[in-house]
Symmetry: C2
Subunit: 390 residues, 2 copies
């Protein structure tokens, strides 16, 4: 099995963009090939496109060859689009990784895209509901906000977590995103701002929720032994954890214990041959503030039920126990479904390079993880990346 490295990244400005999904892909693709040495689109032999719902957001399926055409790539080894709701981008990375690892591909691009902002946002919200099991959860009005709201209610009940603690996640991530030029939301918020913002699904307020965002981001993967041809600063893929248990909400073992997250984390540490304590940067899926709190716990950064206290104590800030979402996370950067995991994987590369604002730079970081989840948090996916080969 070949070791695999990421040698470049490129991204479109995230936000409510006056651009089609094709234009977003082209913007990210242009930046991607400007970020790499000695490599042009024609050298890429495989393409993996993460996209969650172009069929509904853009009435366009079969997007992978269309992306190839727009980027000037001729996939002659492997091509596919991957879909796994909010984890679609990481599924593309993992497909690319395995093809380079097995030798089927030499040079692969994984790129994600989603155009979510539409004139009729009610229609866009309807589209989002088909991520949940339509026959079991859809009829009960379960979409993402209600599920994470009951999760938060239950976490407050079981562990005494407070709305103020949850709000701190939003404060932290908006602070970091204010320093990130590609982020969707670049304004700081206070605890009061969060608690006074409109209620979306109690106890979640508007600023407890990530926005609907347009965006595209891509990376290039090659065999690690070839990486220095293309960049002085490659990043190495050293571990993977992914686990899905059940789907319908009534089949989840628990609302407040994300078993698939714990299992994915165990597998990630095992395959990377590291411990959770080795993680310097964690780009995690903060679709709602409660999510990030539960991720501190599920990833083992703190004890079960102590996620609220963990942020109260400043532990997930840069300089604390582990820097969580120094990019600004999904909360601040936005969440263009198919592109999200790829934005945040590229963030790790930028951090290792030192190519970020000083106010959000995790100096000396050696190990970073990118975590995404989908659906009713029934599926969690983790990539482990390192600055040096291992």
């Amino acid at each position: 099995m070949n070791q695999v490295a990421i040698v470049a990244g490129g991204e479109a400005k995230a936000g409510r963009r006056a651009a089609s999904w094709r234009e977003l892909v082209q913007e990210a693709g242009k930046a991607l090939f400007e970020d790499v040495n000695n490599l042009a689109p024609k050298d890429v032999d495989s393409l993996f496109v993460g996209a969650a719902q172009p069929e509904r957001f853009a009435f366009q399926s079969y997007v992978a060859p269309l992306v190839a055409e727009h980027l000037g790539i001729i996939p002659r080894k492997v091509i596919a689009r991957t879909e796994l709701a909010c984890v679609s981008g990481q599924a593309a990375i993992r497909y690319a990784w395995n093809c380079v690892a097995s030798g089927m591909s030499d040079i692969a691009v994984a790129i994600g895209v989603e155009k979510m902002y539409q004139p009729d946002m009610a229609e866009a919200q309807t589209t989002m509901t088909c991520v949940l099991d339509r026959e079991w959860d859809g009829i009960n009005c379960f979409s993402a906000p209600p599920i994470f709201a009951v999760t938060a209610q239950r976490h407050m009940y079981e562990f005494g977590t407070t709305q103020e603690q949850m709000a701190l996640v939003s404060v932290k991530n908006h602070h970091y995103s204010s320093l990130n030029p590609i982020a969707h939301l670049r304004k700081e918020v206070t605890i009061e701002d969060v608690l006074k913002s409109p209620v979306v699904a109690p106890p979640l307020h508007l600023f407890d929720c990530c926005p609907m965002t347009d965006g595209s981001a891509g990376i290039i993967l090659v065999r690690a032994e070839e990486a220095k041809k293309y960049t002085d600063t490659p990043m190495h893929l050293i571990g993977s954890g992914q686990c899905a248990i059940g789907n319908a909400v009534n089949n989840l073992a628990s609302l407040t214990d994300w078993v698939p997250l714990r299992r994915a984390a165990e597998e990630a540490w095992r395959t990377a041959k590291i411990s959770k304590d080795d993680v310097d940067i964690a780009e995690v899926h903060d679709c709602f503030t409660i999510s990030e709190i539960m991720e501190y716990e599920g990833l083992g950064f703190c004890e079960k039920g102590r996620g609220g206290k963990f942020i109260e104590d400043g532990e997930p800030y840069i300089g604390g126990k582990v820097a969580v979402n120094p990019s600004g996370g999904i909360m601040g950067c936005g969440h263009p479904l198919g592109a999200t995991s790829i934005y945040h994987t590229f963030e790790l590369l930028k951090q290792f390079r030192g190519d970020v604002d000083q106010g959000r730079y995790v100096k000396g970081a050696e190990i970073g993880i990118q975590h995404s989840l989908s659906g009713a948090a029934n599926q969690h996916s983790i990539l482990v990346c390192s600055r040096e080969p291992r």
Copy 2:
């Protein structure tokens, strides 16, 4: 890199089914686990679901964990859905293959599904049009039948191919599907039947076209060295070729020379270390009769432009130069998009086992290929399988 084998297959009866897509998956999954020894759903660590358009056919996205839930699989290594229009199923197989090859997965299921038959078939047809580039080809009314119709017109003009020769493909494939219990269409047709059937897009008649079909099929992949634990008759994955060039119809190099097919074939023979003459069975993408004729040519079974003559001479029949679509192909078995490649990969396994009707049995076959194409034939994908390890 690990060598990889397919140890089992299972399929739902293809056709216009009074079953939901979930029920089709369960039917295929039940058959799949009945086809394997010493292996239960709980032993599977990775799941790959090929599905082209559940978002529109069933208003359901994020189908992979839903399939896992219905099959009793807990993916704890890798999970994803793949989409590549008519090649979605092969994209799932290739993802699974690479994960087992790289060592990320030990036991993987690739399963495809599509529920296409709907009360309002005009709506289903509209859904199909979003496979083409909506902005460039959609507005010009290009969907699959017109594209393959102009391809046929041009092939007739350039090479003198006749409607009778094309009809022979339909006659052959309906003959074989009449002997295949899972096939959608089990009636023989004559040349006259084809030429008298309604015109869909000239020169293509109804019986020149594959039907809209519901179906699901799955396979299990493991390391080749472990295969005999699970079956006495594994099938080995020995080569892969896949190539996409352009997407919009106006960007195709030629209507009658499928360059990506020729390139995919070269790569397939190269990676499998075989020549085209070693192929005993070719399960190819006969979405229209002209497609199969052009596949004889693109795969190198005959010279360019001689595809019509090739079938006139009986070469693609069992006992001829190469047995093409002894399953009955897409024309006879039907084309449930995400499942198609998997049905026909399982067909190769059944052929190697001798587990098919004598009238369509390719005795002594050692090498089989499964070919699928998508869109405006801008992307072609080939798997090479062998009865014995190589």
